[in-house]
Symmetry: C2
Amino acid sequence: MQLRNQVEWALHCCSILAGLPPGQRLSTKALAEFHGVPKPYLSKALQSLAQAGLIEGTLGPSGGYRLARPAAEISFLEITEAIEGRARSFACTEIRRNAPCLRADEQISGPCQVARVMWQADEAWRAVLRSQSLADLSATLEAELPERLLADAEAWVGARSAGG
Amino acid sequence: MQLRNQVEWALHCCSILAGLPPGQRLSTKALAEFHGVPKPYLSKALQSLAQAGLIEGTLGPSGGYRLARPAAEISFLEITEAIEGRARSFACTEIRRNAPCLRADEQISGPCQVARVMWQADEAWRAVLRSQSLADLSATLEAELPERLLADAEAWVGARSAGG
DNA sequence: CTTATTGCGGACATTCAATATCTTTAATGA
DNA sequence: TCATTAAAGATATTGAATGTCCGCAATAAG
């Protein structure tokens, strides 16, 4: 039960893209360098985000990625699901139907209680992630991080972003 | 982010063991047959539960497993963690520290906000599982399942349980 | 005391995630 | 128009984790 490291990378990349001036793009290369992660693999995560409609990529020189929607309308859950898929963490295989003492005419209705509890927990997890947007993240970072750090990062990113 | 099928098996097995008369034991063989799952693999799951102190096994003929504690004191979370481990689902590798624009004297304090949100979601998941005990599960099953089904299962299990 | 039965731990195989490489496609700028 | 740059997609390779099985020690019954 472990989330892939791509989830962490995707969240941090989206955080950077959310801080970009409107319309500006940032390349996979710059994002990989900034986070110190392998570019070819990060590219896969960004592709997943693009396919999910969260970011959009542009080809050619001065190309790169930018958010496809306002940061306030992109949740942690969407980013996580773009990488991990939308399946629930608990898969019920209905093993209770394998009981050898089950008679042919005995009907079992509805999902089993074990699965219902596990799915309830899953939904609680999703609810937290659904309630947090990229805008919330940016606001917290701006409030908590030292000013010079933010300025340095903005300058570094600004020097590598392009387009409009 | 998928829980192993062992989690499902472990929960259902504990549910059966919780319905056993006090002191009675049930073998891996019977549990595997009842759920229609491979016995050698189920054995591993039961071993994990035993190591976590949730159930205890007895060797020899008429041996088998029984709950190590009252059903009301064993939660879904403990069973899940016995199989999956106690690690959080999101692992923060602090990739923010890899930023090339970070100066040597710039200090970053505390866990990053991305991790904090993911851990908050994780905790919400745990809270639900922590609130559900095996006794709760048994109560719901007895209330919802047809009486004859329960009687059939109890008879089947009773014929294969032993010890005291 | 022997024998059958059981849990226990370790060994094997198979799958899947993580990583890298290469080709293709498309857009920019000279 | 052409060279350059970047995303998109396909395809290995490695390594860890998951699923599967087998032999050993312990125990109770005959």
